[in-house]
């Protein structure tokens, strides 16, 4: 399989994330394994004292409101895909999708999927790397709407030159 034919899908969208369709789009005849990560809106968070430098208490979330700097976000998603291919040359297809808008608990908000010929090729690590990087350099933000107020969630990563 010619690597130039390996599909890369990136998208900022208001539509539902359809895992079946995305997986199909990054499955080649040579593909035998896919690692897919999805993130969802948590309606109840019980973990305390961590994440992004902020100490937060257990709390409920009514919904999240996502916004993106769409053209830059899609360019940065392509960069994440490029970094994945540089680190895991065996990866065949890559899909990176961020849903934006008003999203309620249990709704998938983000997907990173990587395919490869076999599962022992690093394809799990590639997907894990993808979501970690997305949360560092892809310009998307969320506002959390809780029963008793709302708050912008801010990350803590400061990109370096060339990122």
């Amino acid at each position: 399989m010619n690597p130039s034919l390996f599909p890369t899908i990136v998208s900022i969208t208001e539509d539902e994330i359809d895992l079946n369709i995305l997986l199909d789009k990054i499955t080649l005849t040579s593909t035998g394994a896919a690692a897919i990560f999805t993130g969802m809106v948590r309606g109840e968070t019980s973990r305390t004292g961590q994440a992004q430098g902020i100490n937060y208490a257990p709390h409920e979330t009514t919904y999240l409101e996502y916004e993106a700097y769409k053209p830059m976000a899609e360019e940065k998603m392509l960069q994440v895909a490029k970094e994945i291919r540089e680190k895991w040359g065996v990866v065949e297809g890559i899909a990176i999708v961020q849903r934006i808008g008003k999203l309620y608990p249990r709704t998938p908000t983000v997907l990173i999927a990587c395919t490869a010929s076999h599962r022992d090729t690093g394809v799990f690590d590639a997907a894990r790397y993808g979501i970690d990087r997305l949360k560092e350099i892809v310009p998307v933000w969320k506002k959390e709407i809780m029963p008793d107020g709302e708050e912008w969630v801010e990350g803590e990563y400061i990109p370096k030159e060339g990122e």
């Binding site: 916004e67 961020q98 801010e154 990563y157 990109p159």
Partner: protein, 82 residues
Amino acid sequence: MHKIKILLFATMRTRAKRSSLELEIKKDSTVAELKEILVAEIPALEASLHHTLVSIDREFAFDEDIIPENAEIALFPPVSGG
């Protein structure tokens, strides 16, 4: 002087109560100089400027970077997508 377009996102947008503005800046102004001009224009932004990210033409930019003509600038907090 040349004109630039500035996009504001998330906290920056909320504080500035607008999602974009246009500014006239001197040729060869840096990102640091732009921030000063911006705070003069919109004082509400000052509090968050120390941890604001800046992009020029969709690439991350830094205080000493020079802003080209017709650049698309964006200011936003560290990202929190996913």
